[in-house]
Symmetry: C2
Subunit: 122 residues, 2 copies
């Protein structure tokens, strides 16, 4: 069962603030979307049904927590993209962005360090 785009915005909020009440989530998403309260509640419920989050009663409300870890979600999404578009490999993606001149100086510096470190400790 996969997380839709809209649902992933809710997950992002919970990854930032854990746990959160539905009001927290509504408030946070109001900053970046036009979603009404019922919309956010629907998304919370769909995520519950998918076991991507948990809900623990706290008096009259619930505290929602992410069950799915962000890193795992990121990994799944990234791997899917790499598989579909770059034969599952990272270097071709970097090459693509390089060709398009979309690597910032910062990117290049970071990549350099990364590669050096990798080369060393092995």
């Amino acid at each position: 069962m996969s997380i839709s785009d809209a649902e992933s915005l809710v997950m992002e909020v919970l990854w930032e603030k854990n746990p959160a009440t539905s009001d927290d989530v509504v408030a946070e998403l109001a900053k970046t979307t036009d979603w009404q309260e019922p919309t956010v509640k629907t998304l919370l419920n769909r995520l519950l049904k998918k076991s991507a989050i948990s809900a623990e009663r706290d008096g009259r409300r619930y505290l929602y927590r992410p069950l799915l870890k962000r890193a795992d979600y990121v990994h799944a999404a990234s791997t899917t993209l790499l598989d579909r578009l770059f034969n599952g490999r990272v270097a071709p993606l970097v090459a693509h962005f390089s060709e398009r001149r979309k690597l910032t100086k910062k990117d290049i510096a970071e990549l350099k360090r990364l590669i050096e470190d990798l080369d060393h400790d092995r």
Copy 2:
């Protein structure tokens, strides 16, 4: 108007064989999916409507050609993912795969060369 997952498989075929008849596409996709002929034709029509491909009459059939370039599609999809998950930057994605030990030796070698080249010609 965006290209759905199923539609993108049709595009991949057209990027490989350009132009292609619907039969070509059906035959090619039969290797990797269970799709019936009408399914593929529906997808071709939806892509036509989206102007992602063109159709030129050739006797009784059509020759289909991609209008959308693969590199552009790849770029749009990759950018969307980077923006949503890595603040729009490439290096953090590479770092993520590095942490997960998903960089192959080949990746590392290629990245090294890439970075060296980038460092030089500028």
